[in-house]
Symmetry: D2
Subunit: 290 residues, 4 copies
């Protein structure tokens, strides 16, 4: 009997991720709150648009939603069947992963936290980085499904570990972003050509994913394309900070950044890309980073 | 008549940089305060160990010293001849570059600030990134000499621009270093395997030169090899902050990092590598980053 | 029939606070985990040392314990009788006050959060500042009992408001403390006489409770007497920060201070007074504030 | 022969300070760039409006100008006579005091840095706090003149010590101000009545000059009266930070505040009072502190 796989949440990431599942599975069910998206997905990729009741009865269920709260609501309303594995690709909260593992135990089902990195382009190409927390055996059983859209697929620890790594990754992204804003503004104020400076720094020890990608492709060209929304980055920095606070760690740098990203988010235009956080800094300095 | 080239300051970087000059020049003069180093260099690479008086009379003079103050002291005591170009590869202060340009004008000589990035390995291979500020024509005349040890060679602006870019590069390095310390400590406190986390982050948006190189090669393996001294990083973050302050820019993040690096430097063991700055954080948390 | 009043938790503060209750009430019951303290209190002040079961059946029950968790444990194990008022003088968490109000509703009893300020000297003299959150009618009924040890007694809002004000007060104390450490160290490093500087600042706009009291009486004289433990200040700054975070407020300053106090607490000697937080800063600078 | 005293700079402070000099001296000369102010002062208080050439030839010369630069310009253009004492009440830079002491030595004249605190009300009543750096004998000779407008008059150290204490005082003011903004916003967001909270905190350990005066008299009533301009507070926090940086001290808190005040100043309306710095924070949170 063939394995059924479901994908819940067809946003910018999920829509592209779910498109790879038919490569390896015959029964691929998709569901989305705005159901036309599910129907469109079915028509385009040969998946089946199904009800939430059916989707949650698959052998392997993926979810990719804005926050852990929405995932928990669906799981509690529609628990999976015994033996199922729920693979949550949301950028979620470590605490939620622990709660869902416990909750699904009573249904004899497994929960893996499996957030992804690589943006829409990685989702499209099936080269996403997937960082996974939870039971090792469940991880191995889910592997063939995850593999359809994953490049680097890594089991990083127990329940919540995947969410923790993703949150710290995004916190580092936020730190690097704000640091680049301050540093390049100082260079511009000193009359340095920013493109030349960027080329040097990207060949030096101060480089980061932000200087290599975000700065040239989103900020210096003033495009700020909305592919990863600023409120989600604000949420993720909050998750990373909670992680540190639960361990009672002092984190002066992470705290400062979480505050600045929060202030940027509060003052940003609606539908701002995460890279637009630098606009708060531009407001202070009256210097445009370009 | 052949061009004479001199190199002043044969430290870990200068010793290796000067070794490339004989590839393109017949008269290569070297000088070092501990003169045996100059003699050893001459014997090994076919350069000539000369007096400071002779070295400063070359057509092109390179300097690579701990701070701008030492460079200024030598220049003022031994000004170059008319038509000479002084190429200062020190990680120096933009204000010093402006002063030296003015000072050398009265001797009809040029000054370029030309700090390098790429560590001893880049100096050895001759693939250093060189970021240069100053007169365009002088830059072009000095190019063949710089090319012997440079990979990416970039004219980034007027006098001081090279020093400014280098200072900001090293400030970003410091930010990324401290951010990694806080972030990876939070992960470790949560029971996440750091090597797996590192592999994921290096394939994701939160990566930096620190996560790709410093963390695995110096910190996680607890080696902290002394190739770039912590007091020099403290000095460079100070230069970057001065740059911002002269433009009256608010820089909450850069200020915090400069303070933390300064505190780390004040409490560090003698001869600490820059990467050992994380030990201050480890003192607070009692968690070793490994 | 006369009103019975109980006091649970005879620490440095509670012991002195409970001593005032016999001025206004005939039946004053006291309880403490180390029961000898209760017996000693009874002997000294004419109160009655009773079991926890009896104490929690008083008409008005005061509690003054290290954290909200301990208060909740006692309340849940020994809920008060209908009509009773529980007045919690712990420096507790606003969320806990809201939970206890709800919990006691099922027992038709009231809960007031009523933290105090004024240290042991204020407790002894009966001049404590009491900041109270919760039901207005319950506040008025409990007023005669609170009045026995209170100077300024203020109803500041709904459930949790008292705890919130206390947490912010202690956060401000922490900010002022760290600011004084940095500022006076800078003055000392510049050769200024600290006692003269302090006299000037206390007559000027930069003064605070810290410059007026903490600095001269605990730090400059190097006495650091243990009257308010550093771990409790660390807890209180955490409560204040939670308050801000639940409102999703950016608070760069409060976050930094909470981190520094946490680091100070992690590295402090056991049984350190809150004022000893400055020793972390002295470790960095090698300058003693005296 | 009687002693002549001059006052240079009749701003909001100087105008009122100079008004006390005729109480003790017969020859009181005043000068101001807008000369009508000097004439008005003469008419009102019985002083003499004189040229800058005459003013700088007095036995004791007071100056009270926006910045040290303006004081230095006047001193260099119009050095005092031998035996004179220049008493600079500007909130100036310690480095400037050292330079002026050296400069006046060649004219056999003395320089005291003597900044004041107490605002216009203190200037009017003659109760200013005066913190003085420089030569002890010169201090004693100038004392009778300083005494006319001073309450607490304190010799705090060598040249520059007075400016240093004033700068740190104003930095503490800035810290306390921003801390109050964050703390009271958190309370308001939690539904606490701010006036009640303020009353409690002013009777507790978290009080400061800001909670006692600035908050009730300038912010909560939304008056923000211009008596101490925000750009001057930004300048003073910069002086305090320079002091720390010259001693190579890490000062994470003072640095953060200097940055925030600088950002507040860059985004403030023209002619903003220092207390209006909180408006930057209100911009972030959309919560008005009242």
């Amino acid at each position: 009997m063939s394995v059924s796989v479901a994908f819940i949440g067809l946003g910018a990431m999920g829509y592209r991720m779910a498109a790879h599942l038919p490569k390896a599975f015959q029964s691929v069910w998709v569901w989305n709150r705005s159901f036309e998206k599910a129907e469109q997905h079915a028509k385009t990729y040969g998946t089946q648009a199904v009800s939430i009741e059916q989707a949650t009865q698959a052998d392997i269920i993926f979810s990719c939603l804005p926050t852990s709260r929405q995932v928990e609501d669906i799981i509690q309303a529609h628990p999976p069947k015994a033996g199922a594995i729920w693979v949550d690709c949301t950028s979620g909260e470590p605490e939620s992963a622990k709660r869902m593992v416990e909750f699904l135990k009573t249904y004899q089902a497994d929960f893996l936290d499996a957030p992804v990195s690589g943006q829409t382009i990685g989702a499209e190409k099936g080269t996403l980085t997937v960082m996974i927390g939870g039971d090792q055996a469940a991880f191995e059983r889910a592997y063939p499904a995850i593999e359809t859209f994953g490049g680097l697929i890594k089991h990083v620890g127990d329940a919540g570990a995947g969410f923790a790594v993703k949150a710290v990754n995004n916190m580092l992204l936020a730190v690097h972003l704000w640091a680049a804003a301050e540093g390049f503004t100082a260079l511009k104020a000193s009359g340095v050509d920013l493109n030349s400076a960027l080329e040097c720094i990207n060949a030096s020890s101060g480089k980061s994913g932000v200087t290599e990608t975000t700065l040239p492709q989103r900020i210096l060209n003033r495009s700020f394309p909305l592919t990863f929304a600023l409120p989600l980055l604000a949420k993720d920095t909050g998750i990373a900070l909670n992680l540190a606070q639960q361990a009672k760690l002092p984190t002066p740098l992470l705290s400062l950044i979480q505050n600045l990203i929060q202030a940027a988010n509060l003052t940003a235009a609606p539908d701002s890309d995460f890279s637009a956080a630098v606009k708060l800094y531009e407001d202070w300095t009256k210097i445009t980073i370009q």
